[in-house]
């Protein structure tokens, strides 16, 4: 956690965006370690692969297209700092009311969790209860998540893919008629 804080401060101070991309990968990797410590190995897998791997690669790809030095704003932004500090303080104040990590009396352990733990072996089967909750009890939610990811990829495809094709098609010939523009 201390490493994460140090990385975050360095991230905010740095102007070189290449270093920022690399450090955000480091931040994700540290977050993955925290997840492993909290016994959430599934989340750690995802964080390490997406946050430290794919997101870093995508950021580097963006840097190749743009520039790798951040623009310096002349005036010091005071109002955003106040807003961020206030929001952070309110959030931290909110967590004070939450039950401690691993508290057996926490409400989350008394709603449906005991039923999952006791019955999922007989009702669904897999020894990994997380899998049976995600895939069977909460099947709708997981379907929604997959649809979100599909929509994200389709959105990128539509936005950037068509732009690339249109640019490639119009650059050599300098034609302006695009059939998609009329619809």
């Amino acid at each position: 956690m201390v490493f994460m804080a140090v990385t975050a401060f360095t991230l905010a101070r740095l102007r070189n965006l290449f270093a920022v991309a690399m450090l955000s990968g480091v931040f994700s990797l540290l977050a993955a370690v925290v997840y492993v410590v909290m016994d959430a190995v599934d989340v750690a897998f995802t964080e390490a692969a997406v946050g430290a791997g794919i997101a870093t690669v995508l950021m580097l790809g963006t840097l190749v297209l743009t520039t790798d030095v951040e623009k310096v704003h002349p005036k010091k932004p005071i109002a955003p700092l106040i807003v961020v500090t206030l929001t952070g303080a309110v959030l931290i104040y909110g967590t004070l009311d939450m039950p401690h990590y691993g508290d057996p009396n926490a409400p989350i352990h008394h709603h449906v969790a005991p039923r999952y733990i006791e019955k999922s072996g007989a009702e669904v089967g897999p020894p990994n209860i997380v899998t049976s909750v995600l895939a069977s009890y909460r099947g709708y939610d997981t379907l929604g998540e997959v649809t979100v990811i599909f929509t994200a990829a389709a959105g990128v495809l539509v936005l950037l893919g068509r732009w690339r094709r249109a640019a490639a098609a119009s650059n050599p010939h300098k034609t302006d008629d695009e059939p998609e523009a009329r619809s």
């Binding site: 599934d42 692969a49 379907l143």
Partner: protein, 143 residues
């Protein structure tokens, strides 16, 4: 990246292991940690590593755009289709108990299928997004 021998050799050693681990996470998700999301992400990052080291054009030849797009859509379709099959067999949407004679076997089969759908869609969307970002570059060839 054509002449970096260390990177190429290491990538050749690592990529099969990454892909194999992704498949393990995918199909062993019932028993150990993991599942479709994790497996898809790991598979996608393994493939992206391949594309970075050996060049985007080579990777595009391995997985052409139409194949990736078909995978992208068919993952979601597989997931939703399993739900529809359950409905046709006389149960609720996304209730897998009717897929086999034994409800537990049915649940097992349904979870296996939908996790495969999840993994397919996630891996294909990661690869798609990476290809599109990589294709934006004026030169087009890998770093």
């Amino acid at each position: 990246m054509k002449r970096k021998a260390v990177l190429r050799v290491n990538a050749k050693l690592l990529i099969p292991l990454i892909l194999l681990f992704a498949l393990y996470v995918q199909f062993h998700g019932d028993f150990g940690p993991g599942g479709g999301f994790q497996a898809g992400v790991i598979f996608g990052s393994g493939f992206i590593l391949y594309a970075i080291i050996f060049g985007v054009e080579v990777a595009r030849r391995v997985a052409p755009a139409w194949l990736v797009r078909i995978g992208l859509a068919s993952g979601v379709l597989l997931y939703a289709g399993v739900g529809v099959v359950g409905m046709l067999l006389g149960s609720n949407y996304l209730d897998y108990s009717v897929l086999a004679h034994d409800p537990v076997h049915g649940q097992h089969l349904g979870i296996l299928l939908i996790e495969f759908g999840v993994g397919l869609t996630v891996a294909c969307s990661m690869i798609t997004i990476f290809f599109i970002f990589a294709g934006q570059r004026p030169g087009g060839e890998g770093r």
